[in-house]
């Protein structure tokens, strides 16, 4: 497997507040990684560093062995697509016009869109099951539809790596499962995925590995079953369930459910 994105001794700080320190990690082709950790641990920062919209304060981020800083953002955006958590559009763009923006890194200054661009857009909308929404106004879509359209914009960039910032946020359980199916589908299409995830219950079975960020500790990486263990999460999220009876009860219930499910 070839490395797609490498973080080499990466550090980042917002002003005085250091978020990531000495991070070493690699995303290989066809990997599907969930980035987890408490609020403020740097999940979104990590995604932005991989997308090239933030530059590391220390160390390097490499895309196919090339320092992101030596690449033009247009070049980066043809390999790496970042799907932000919230997109506010002040005008009533249609889904098609919205997805069209994913072709920006391919367009020349005075040239319009070509058939290649339209085909990429159509393919992106078909994969995300948003083709039928193409004439609808983006701002009038439901949360789940909007999420899929945002991913369609990312796919219109024809990326090798898709960075999803909290793709499950604000989705009801049915839409969460749709999103899981979509992530599975994209993985089969050969697109690597790095997604920041809040809901740890949705990770196993979908993601191939987990990166756990927690403040003041080195990042841990491993298989979901290695990382998503109570004793590890307790420390990372700084929450000891045995001090909180209700939480303890919920965790036990969940474990029991899972056992029943498995049997």
């Amino acid at each position: 497997m070839k490395p797609l994105i490498e973080f080499a001794h990466v550090g980042f700080a917002y002003g005085d507040r250091s978020v990531l320190t000495d991070l070493d990690a690699t995303v290989f082709g066809n990997q599907c990684i969930a980035v987890v950790g408490p609020n403020g641990a740097g999940k979104t920062t990590l995604l932005r560093l991989a997308a090239g919209t933030l530059a590391p304060a220390h160390g390097k981020v490499l895309l196919k062995h090339k320092d992101l800083r030596s690449l033009k953002q247009r070049e980066i955006a043809r390999s790496v697509a970042f799907v932000p958590q919230n997109v506010e559009v002040p005008f009533s763009f249609t889904v098609e016009q919205f997805v069209e923006q994913g072709r920006t890194p391919f367009l020349q200054m005075f040239a319009g869109l070509s058939l290649v661009d339209y085909d990429a857009m159509r393919r992106a909308m078909e994969l995300t099951d948003t083709w039928s929404l193409r004439s609808r106004v983006f701002n009038e879509l439901s949360g789940g539809e909007r999420q899929r359209v945002k991913i369609a914009l990312g796919l219109a960039q024809q990326p090798r790596l898709l960075l999803l910032d909290e793709p499950m946020q604000h989705l009801d359980i049915g839409r969460q499962f749709e999103m899981i199916d979509l992530i599975d589908l994209l993985r089969r299409e050969g697109i690597s995925i790095v997604a920041s995830m809040h809901d740890l219950a949705l990770i196993e079975g979908t993601f191939s590995s987990v990166w756990l960020l927690s403040p003041d500790q080195p990042m841990r990486q491993g298989l979901p079953e290695e990382i998503l263990r109570p004793e590890i999460l307790e420390v990372a999220f700084n929450c000891q369930p045995h001090h909180r009876p209700r939480l303890q009860r919920r965790i036990e219930e969940r474990m029991r459910d899972r056992m029943e499910h498995a049997s």
Partner: protein, 352 residues
């Protein structure tokens, strides 16, 4: 075409609608010019106007003078001003990511008036060359004021409506009254005062053909510069960070929009002074027909803006004849309520 339609994502219907609209606007524009040229104290029938414009000799000497030295220059001036104001409104709305931006509302017209006033009061009286300095100073004033408002009103890469309106209001009021101040300093300069008053009311005066040539050039530069920017504004609508990620040079786009928008504002102010809300009404109405795609809106906005202001100015000069209403008064009367309606409509969406 059916085949292409089947395999690609493209809004053919929208494109057809755009072409139809452009054709209709062009026809209406030609008709409006002919009708407007005939209207006034001396009535000239439509066909005679049309004939004389393609070189016919059927007009009397008086009619020719009225047509070519009085009415047509004014008609072309209103076309230029309307087109320039509407396109700069469209650009500023894209830049501010806010459909309420307009050269008047955000104070760039006020800056242009101050710049132009400096030209009138502190420099030699207007001549062809003098007009050149006036236009240049109007441009500088527009550029300075919009940069100031942009800097004041932006919060984390966005422009909340309240911040935009307050900054625009404060800056434009300050600038307009600075122009009055200049007038007080320079009491004995009679023409300057008259020129300034017409500017502040928004009057399309009696331009000469050389003046029109200069403004035509400015409009041409502004329109040519807007073409590559239109697509960038679509991308910028996603927000600065997202647009940056997609490979748009946000900073370059921002500077280009401010410069091009200021050239257009200056062109409009040099001929018509403070004409409010045109840049707001025209793009908004077209958005209702064509949607928000700036690439599609740009040519239609230029044509519709020209048509709109020609109609408005013709009404302004004929409705209460022999007196004339400054066209700025008319656009404010129509545009004010329209602005309030838009403000109310976008309150929830863009306010936060």
């Amino acid at each position: 075409m059916e085949v292409t339609q089947a395999i690609t994502a493209h809004d053919w219907a929208g494109e057809r609608r755009q072409h139809w609209l452009l054709a209709i606007l062009a026809i209406l524009l030609v008709l409006a010019v002919l009708v407007a040229a005939g209207m006034g104290a001396v009535h000239v029938p439509l066909w005679l106007v049309a004939q004389s414009m393609i070189g016919g000799e059927s007009l009397s000497a008086d009619q020719r003078i009225i047509l070519f030295t009085i009415r047509l220059p004014r008609i072309f001036a209103s076309l230029l001003v309307g087109g320039a104001l509407s396109v700069s409104g469209l650009l500023f709305q894209g830049l501010f990511r806010n459909p309420l931006a307009d050269p008047y509302v955000i104070g760039s017209s006020g800056g242009a008036v101050l710049g132009a006033s400096i030209g009138v009061f502190l420099l030699p009286p207007i001549s062809v060359a003098g007009f050149g300095t006036t236009a240049l100073l109007a441009f500088a004033g527009a550029l300075g004021s919009i940069t100031l408002v942009y800097w004041l009103a932006r919060v984390d890469g966005r422009t909340p409506v309240v911040a935009l309106l307050l900054a625009g209001f404060a800056v434009s009021t300050m600038l307009s009254y600075s122009s009055y101040f200049l007038e007080v300093l320079d009491r004995d300069f009679g023409t300057g005062m008259r020129v300034l008053t017409s500017w502040l009311h928004g009057t399309i005066a009696q331009p000469t053909w050389p003046q029109l040539a200069i403004v035509t050039l400015m409009l041409a530069i502004g329109l040519a510069g807007s073409v590559p920017l239109a697509r960038n504004l679509n991308t910028l609508a996603l927000g600065e960070e997202y647009a940056t990620h997609l490979g748009l040079s946000v900073q370059q786009t921002r500077i280009a929009v401010i410069v091009i928008g200021s050239i257009l504002t200056a062109a409009a102010v040099a001929l018509g002074g403070l004409i409010s809300f045109v840049g707001l009404i025209v793009p908004h109405m077209l958005r209702m027909v064509l949607g928000p795609d700036h690439v599609r809106l740009l040519p239609a906005t230029a044509l519709a803006g020209a048509l709109f202001l020609l109609v408005a100015d013709t009404v302004a000069r004929t409705a209460i004849a022999p007196a004339e209403l400054p066209v700025g008064v008319l656009t404010a009367l129509i545009g004010g309520p329209f602005f309030l309606y838009l403000l109310r409509k976008t309150k929830q969406g863009v306010m936060s």
